[in-house]
Subunit: 213 residues, 2 copies
DNA sequence: TTTAATTTTGGGGGGATTGCAAAATTTAAG
DNA sequence: CTTAAATTTTGCAATCCCCCCAAAATTAAA
């Protein structure tokens, strides 16, 4: 599967447009930058921008697509005897504890969050992504437990697990945007995660334990 | 405080525009109806429509503003010895059990939900309203418990309570949209609420109990 | 009746997004 | 290497949401 010139160019063009656009957004905010301007800076036509990105938001949130199965992967990879919620808590803690940029714990994330915070369109889009994550998780829980389609529990458990994840992520976003130090935020969020775990009911904490009974 | 001619006319005009717009949306969907068309049907100028409604979505979700303090009111009105979560569960059950149109349990709600479901803009707006509800609830919990501003628990409890409410509401929306009978949905959702209560942790269920120390 | 305050309207324009067909580029074939 | 087919880029026109401003119409107040 050798990659031809055409494919490579397409990939490069797409990346260049996204990078330049992101730079402009970080500098001046989402709404202040026009598609026409991005096209000009990237030296392509406006239509070409739309050939690669269906909407303006996709220029900034290009990566967010890759995380729709994040929770699902964590659940699928749970250890023996470990429940779905426990696996998510463990993985989440690992990311936070290691001050991973994948959860936004990095220098410069504050500007990124500020751009999102300043744009209702971006916030709405992020929420939509979150909905996909939730639907995905519910489907995974159903598969993993072989639950009857009429069963409502998987959706509820997914909701609870998703709440933990979302709450942690938004806490990170909020604190980072406030200019806090990533390591300090990491410590705080770990405490927050402990607190959330303490609030969860036993049924949630034990749902879909691998190899149980 | 007699109401002058001017005020009455304004109120009537606003209502007429909203009603006509809603009718068109229900008939043909949100995006398929243009503001210009609404203005024409209402016999006003496009600018007048914008004088009353800041955005197109407000023409359809005009009422949703009045519910931002719904959960807060329920919590504030909790009985002696009753916690915040218990109060919300009680009020929610009462609404659902009485097949109240306020929670969407009514004839014709299916078409309403279908319009929302078919429009990302409307869904995003509803989510934003939900965020307001959540923020409101958190503030109320802080007030009611006199929690320290640095305390994170109120936000978490608010999140859990909000989850119950949102989940119940979206279940209603989903089932109603599927053309189910309101009374049947009412019964089902009551079961769902029981199930959710069974998932909540004790700390959540007992938070902010009135009169407790 | 005159004057002040408030609404409505028309006109203009910016910016996102879409559709279409022509032009440019890359690939494949001969 | 030349040519034809496939793919990408581009220009152009158009739709629609939304905003701004000043003139015109309407209502309230003096």
């Amino acid at each position: 599967m050798a990659e031809g010139l055409r494919e490579r160019k397409k990939r490069e063009t797409r990346q260049r447009i996204s990078d330049l656009a992101t730079g402009l957004f970080l500098e001046r905010g989402f709404e202040a930058v026009t598609i026409a301007e991005i096209a000009e800076v990237a030296d392509v036509s406006v239509n070409t921008v739309y050939n690669y990105f269906p909407a303006k938001e996709d220029l900034f949130l290009d990566r967010s697509r890759g995380i729709v199965d994040r929770l699902s992967r964590w659940v699928r990879g749970r250890d023996d005897g470990e429940s779905a919620a426990e696996a998510v808590l463990r993985e989440l803690r690992a990311e936070v504890e290691s001050v991973s940029p994948r959860v936004g714990l990095m220098e410069g994330y504050s500007r990124f969050m500020a751009v999102i915070d300043g744009s209702p369109a971006l916030k709405a889009r992020l929420w939509a992504v979150g909905q996909d994550v939730l639907a995905n998780l519910e489907a995974t829980l159903r598969e993993e437990t072989g639950a009857d389609p009429a069963e409502t529990l998987p959706a509820l458990i997914a909701g609870q697990i998703n709440w933990v994840h979302q709450t942690a992520m938004s806490a990170i976003g909020r604190e980072m945007m406030a200019g806090r130090d990533p390591k300090a935020v990491s410590r705080e969020v770990l405490v927050l995660i402990d607190e959330m775990e303490g609030l969860l009911g036993d049924k949630v904490l034990n749902y879909a334990a691998r190899g149980a009974r």
